[in-house]
Amino acid sequence: MDETPTSRTRWFGFERVRVDYKNHAVDITVGSESTWDRSHLRRLRQSSDLPGHVPVIDADVSSEGRPYVVTAAVEEPTLADKLASEDGVSWNDSTGITEAVARACHEAHERGLFHGSLSPEDVYIIDDEIAVDGLGLTRGGDIPTERNQWVAPEVLAGDTPSARSDVYSLGKLLEASLGDSIELVPRSVKRLIMWSSSDTPEARPRSASEFAEILSDGLGETKNSFRPAFIPTIRANNLTADAEKAVADTQSDIPLASVTTGEVEIDPETLTLDETVDDLDDIEIDEDTTEQLEIIDLDDVESDEVKDSEDTTEELAAEDDLVELVSEDDDDVDTAEVDASDTAEDSNSTSKKAAAATIGAAGAAALAAKKFGDNKDKTDKGDSDKGDSDKDKPEDKKAKVTSSASKISNKTTGAAATASAAATKKIGDVDKAKSSFSYKEATEKDDRGMSRFLVPALILLAIPLLLWALLRSGGSEDQTATSSSDTTIESGATGADTTGPDTTDEPSDVESAVPETEASEPTEDSAPTADTEAVAAPEVTEPEPATTEAPETTEAPETTEAPATTEAPETTEAPKTTEAPASPAATDDAANPDKAIKSSEAAIQVIHGIPATPVDVYVDGSLTAAAFQPESIAGPVDLPAGSHDVAIFAAEDNPAESSDDRTDDAVLDETISASGNPTALIAHLDETGAPALSAFVESLDELEAGETRVAVRNLTAGAGDATVTVDGKEQTAPLSNGDELEIVLSAGEHTIALLDDNGDEVFSSDLDLVEGELTTVGFIGSTEDSSQSVVIQRYSGLSSAPTAVPTGDSGLLDAGPGSGGARTILGLTVMLVLSGAMIAFKRRRNLV
C-alpha cells in the first residue's frame, strides 16, 4: 500500500483526508458516531450516480464504529475560485451555473440528501459542467461559522437542512456570484434572490427545482447553459483499508461521546406513528405541527466514564413493544457499546451529548432533544464538544417542546445526526424538537439473539426473495453505487430510502407522522411518506404462498438446494463456463478501468444467495428471470443508467410475461437506479437470518503479473463478526454480514474459509484463483439450519503481462545486424496480420 494520505483538512467541521492513488484521488471525510447513521450512509452510497455532484464512492462505518464518506477528489476550480479570479464570472455564467446547481440540488433533495451550507466553494466548474460537493454531509450541525452567510437561519438555529434551506443558499449563491452584475439581470431574478433569502422557509420557493425554473424563466436565452457533471468514480482496491486507516488516524482528534445503553419511551398520546419502520436507523418521528411533545427526562444513560450524573437521555413515552419490534428487526444496530468520551466530564450538562451518544451508539432511535440558547454561532464539532456544554441549560433535560409549525424539524433519521446536532449546535431562539427513538440496546441484544433465528425461519420458508433492488430514497431515485455496502433491504426500508410496498410485517406497528423536514412546510406535510420511508418488508403473510411453492422447487428444472443436484446439468454445459469467467459484457469503457470510467450502462449481476426460495424477477414490468434458483447468478444485464423497476414474485409455473398480469402480490417491488459500475446484487440472509440485499461494486483494477484478487463476502446468517482465512491464515479485518474483504494473492489454489465469532468454521472452499481475475466468494446460507454454501463469480481481464522476459545474460549470441533484419520486419507484418483480428481482445476487461 503505497497510498498515503497527502493532505488532511477540516471540512464542514469534519476531518477530511485526501488519498492519492495512482490514477485518481479520493477524499475520505470522517465523522464521529453521532454524525451519520447507517441509513444516511446508505443513502449517500446510493447517491454515487447523482449527476452534478461529487460522487460518493463509499460511505461506511469503520471497524471502530466511526462513519466515513469517501468521495471522488475533484481538482477543478470552484465557483469561488472563478469569482476570485481576474476574469471573474459573467452574469450569464453565474445564472447558468446557479440554475444547474439548483437542478442538481433538486435531484439530491429527491433522495433525501440536503446540503445545508451550499456556497461557491462547493461548486466545481468543469468547463460547462458543474458538480456540487458536500451533499448530504452536513448532518451533525458541524457547519463552521465562516459558512454562516450561506446557511439558512433555521439551519443555523439547529434545524436539519431541507430543500428550502438549500434554496436559501442558492439565493445567496446566486447573489454572490452575480456580484455587481446583479444590476444587469432581469428584475425577476433579483426578486428570486430576495424571495429565496427570506428568513421564513415557507416564504421561499418550495424546491430547488422551482428555483431553477424561476431563474430559467426570468432569463430566457440570456443565460449560458451549464450541465450537471457526471464524475466517474473509481474504487481502489485498498480503499476500505485506507479509509480504515484514515479514520484511525483521526480518531484522536475528535472526541467521541458515547453511551452504552439508552432508553426512550414514547408517549403514544403525543405521537402518531404512521410510518412503518423497520430500520432503527431510520425512524423518523413526525409530529403533527399542532401537537405538543412532552419530553420526559430520564437518567438512564449508562455511561461509565461520564462522571457527571447529569447526563441523561431524553425519553419519549412510548409503547414498549413497538420499540422492541423495531429493534428486533433492526440489524444495523451493532454499534452499541462505545466508550464514553472523556470530554463529557467537563460538562455539567451533558445531556445532549449523552443523548447523542446514546443514539449514535445505538445507531438508531430517537430522542427528543430540545435546546435553548440564543447563540446562533456555530462551532465546529471539536470545539463544541468541549465548549458548548455551558450553553446547554439543565432544563433541557425536561423540556417541553411545543411543536410550533415553523420550528420543528423532525428529521431524526439516525438519531445520531440529530444528537450530534444537539451536542454541537448552539441553537437559536427556537424550540426545537428532535425526536428519536432510543432503545434498550443492551437488553435488546439478548432478545434479538433469541428471535434471530425465529424470524429467519419464518422468512426462509416464506419469502421468495428479493433479488434486485436497491433502495431508493425519498420516493424517487436510488441506486447502487459503491461497494462494501450493507444495503440490506431487510424487511424494508430505511429512512426515506425505499418506496417499497407496505408491509404487514411486524415493524408496521411503528409509525410516525412527522414531516421529515420542516414541519412548517405545508407541501411536505401533506405527503410525509414521500420523504420518509416506506417499507419493503417481506410480508409475513407471504410465507404461505412461498411454502406452497416449495414442491415446485423440486420440479423445477433447476433444483434448488444441493449444489450437486442443481449444478449437475449445468456442469455438462460447463466447459465454457469454467474457462470463461462470469464476466459481464464488455463495454467500451471497460477497456480502461484505471482511467475514469464513464458509462451509460451498468452491468448488473444478480446473485441468489438465499436457500430454497426460487423467484420470478421482473424488470420494468417484463419477466427477466423466471424460477430464479438459489445459488445461481442472473446476468449480466446491462441496464441503461437510470431508474428501473424491479419486482420480485414467488416463482410460479408459467409466470406471466408482464408483472401487470401477476395476480399475486409482489414480494418486492422496487425502483433501482443503475449506475455505471459493474455491480453484484446479492440476495442473502443477514446476520439474524432475515432476507437482505447487498450490493457490491466489483473491484476491477488491474493486477500485476501473477496476482489474483478475491473478494470474500460474509452473507451468512449466524456467522457474527466472522474471520476470513486464506490457507488457514487469518486475515485481519473481521467481516460482519454484508461486508466484504478484498485480498490480492498469488494466483493458484487457495482455501478460503469463513470462521464465526467462536472461530468455528462456517464454510470453506478450495478454489483455483486465476491470475488476472477477480473471484468473488460469497458465503451464504445460515448456520442455523446448516445451509451454508458458497457462490462464486469470476471476472477476468485484469491481468498484466510480466514486466520483462529476461532470457540472456552472457552475450553468447552474436547478434549481428543480419540476425533479425528483414525477417523481423516480415515476421512483424505477419504477426500483425495474424493478430489484427485479435486486437479487440487486447484489453477487454469484460466489465463496464
Binding site: T578, A585, L623, P655, E771, T807, A815, A837
Partner: protein
C-alpha cells in the same frame, strides 16, 4: 453455462441467449474478434448460470512437459514458471524451457508462452538458436497427458524489449497460439542483458 430459460419466451430469447453466452462465458473463449455487447431486451429472460464452485472453477488442460524443434535440433523439458519478485517472467535455467503458468495450456484460447534463455551463466540456453526458426517450420510440444501437439511457425520477430507487444504476447483469449520467447538483438555487456526479445509465433496444425 446454465442458460435455462424457463419462461418459455424462447423466441426472443434465442438472440439474447446467444449473446449472453458470448458475453458471459464465451467471451473469453471464443475466437471471435469482438464479442457483441450484451443487449437485454427486458422482455427476455437474462442468462442464468450457476454460482457453484464446481461449475465456475477454471478447468486447465494438460500442461506442456517438453518441446522438440527438429530444425534446431532442440529437445528440452518444459516446466511451469511464474514471475519473480519484480514481476519478471521467471525464466528457468539454461537447458530448460519455462511455460508461463498463467498463460493457457497448449490448444486453449489465448497465447501459450514458452520462454527460455538464449544464454545463461555463460552457457547456451535452450533457445539459443530460436532466431533461426523460419516461418512454416514445424515443431512439437508434448503435454503431460502424453499427447503431442504440432505447431507451425507463423512469425519470427525481434522486438526491442521496451516495445514488446505484451498484449498480444500474453493474450489470454482469442485464437490459440504458441509464443516462444527468448532474448536477442544487441547484447549490453554492462547490463549483462540483451536489448531485444525474439518471439516466434506458431499455431497448432
Amino acid at each position: 453455462m446454465n442458460r435455462k430459460l424457463l419462461s418459455g419466451t424462447f423466441g426472443l430469447l434465442a438472440t439474447v441467449g446467444m449473446v449472453a453466452a458470448a458475453g458471459t462465458s464465451g467471451a473469453v473463449v471464443s475466437g471471435d474478434s469482438d464479442t457483441p455487447k450484451l443487449q437485454i431486451d427486458y422482455g427476455s429472460t437474462v442468462p442464468i448460470r450457476s454460482g457453484n464452485p464446481l461449475d465456475v472453477q477454471p478447468s486447465k488442460g494438460p500442461r506442456p512437459v517438453s518441446i522438440r524443434v527438429g530444425d534446431l535440433d532442440l529437445e528440452a523439458s518444459v516446466i511451469p514458471v511464474g514471475v519473480d519478485e519484480e514481476k519478471q517472467l521467471d525464466v528457468p535455467s539454461a537447458d530448460l524451457v519455462g511455460w508461463y503458468q498463467y498463460s493457457p495450456t497448449p490448444g486453449n484460447a489465448g497465447a501459450t508462452v514458452l520462454a527460455a534463455h538464449v544464454d545463461y551463466g555463460g552457457e547456451q540456453g535452450a533457445f539459443f538458436n530460436l532466431h533461426q526458426l523460419e516461418i512454416g517450420e514445424l515443431f512439437e510440444v508434448e503435454l503431460e497427458d502424453g499427447t503431442v501437439k504440432s505447431y507451425e511457425v507463423t512469425a519470427n520477430s525481434t522486438y526491442n524489449k521496451v516495445d514488446l507487444p505484451d498484449d498480444e504476447l500474453f493474450r489470454k483469449d482469442g485464437k490459440p497460439v504458441l509464443q516462444l520467447v527468448t532474448c536477442g538483438g544487441t547484447f549490453d555487456p554492462e547490463e549483462r542483458s540483451y536489448e531485444a526479445n525474439v518471439v516466434v509465433s506458431a499455431v497448432p496444425v
